[in-house]
Amino acid sequence: MTLASDGAAFGVGTGERPTRAGLALGARIPTLTVRVTRSDLVRYAGASGDFNTIHWSDRVAAQVGLPGVIAHGMLTMAYGARAVTDWIGDPGALVEYTVRFAKPVVVPDDDEGVEVVFEGRVATVLDDGLVRVDLNATCAGQRVLGLARAIVRLS
């Protein structure tokens, strides 16, 4: 897969980590763009142990009524987590993470694969140093994750 992050907000890449004090509600976290190919699905299947045939067989995907082979929801969810952990710097500060798999990410059998874009905004500053970030993930103009939110602990 190929990855791109706009990296502009919050000085990502400079070692600067967000703090509660510097946060504005609605502020955007850096956008993460991921290009997913069939080869990524094979690799994720092996690493995760999720060998569900709908993630690698067009024949079985069609049999169960899918438009084609689809990405593991957990892989899409992992990319979304990365959008958040790239921003906070320490994955240990991600305390809760929820998604709904709203639409399947259909991955064509070609070299280009498909692009998924992850955007996030600071939604709420909670008690005890916790901050909620709401995520949006889109693929081919369609929302693939719904109700996606991460709760992070910031200093």
Binding site: G46, S48, G49, N52, M74, R82, V95, E96, T98, V99
Partner: protein
């Protein structure tokens, strides 16, 4: 349709799961994330962790491992399963060296839109009796005869 009376059944993993540096590395690279805290113990320690930590969704490996027993018990083929919702609540990240016991409970069974919807809750507890993560999934199980796809 799945009999609602299966709610409450529990499925402990047949053996504890040993989190290793190599598995964490393999998983991190498979999700395209070469963050040093996943790959290098020194970088992880610099963030205050004991050893390399696992990405937040690594817990899915342990959770979904128990799903195999759930599906076998319910007589469901995996190609009929669609994962619709997932939540992780972490007390702390999983890390290399952890020996973790996973147990899944069928929290809820409902019938909706011609399919069965199950809530599966998995708790991960270390051999030191430390609760590290709860993973809650909702899955939709299409009836065997269905050819209708999602959305």
């Amino acid at each position: 349709m799945i009999d609602p009376s299966v709610a409450g059944r529990t499925y402990p993993a047949p053996r504890p799961y040993a989190v290793s540096r190599e598995k964490v590395r393999e998983f991190a690279l498979a999700i395209g994330d070469a963050l040093p805290a996943y790959l290098d113990a020194t970088a992880a320690r610099a963030l205050g962790h004991v050893d390399v930590i696992a990405p937040p969704t690594f817990a899915a490996i342990l959770a979904m491992d128990t799903w195999r027993d759930v599906m076998a018990d319910l007589g469901v083929d995996f190609s009929r399963v669609l994962h619709t919702d997932q939540r992780f609540v972490a007390d702390r990240p999983l890390r290399a060296g952890d020996i973790v016991q996973a147990e899944t409970i069928i929290d809820d069974v409902r019938e909706r839109m011609g399919a069965s919807w199950l809530t599966l809750r998995t708790d991960l507890v270390t051999d030191a009796d430390e609760h590290v993560c709860t993973a809650v999934a909702t899955i939709m199980v299409r009836p065997a005869e269905s050819r209708d796809g999602p959305g």
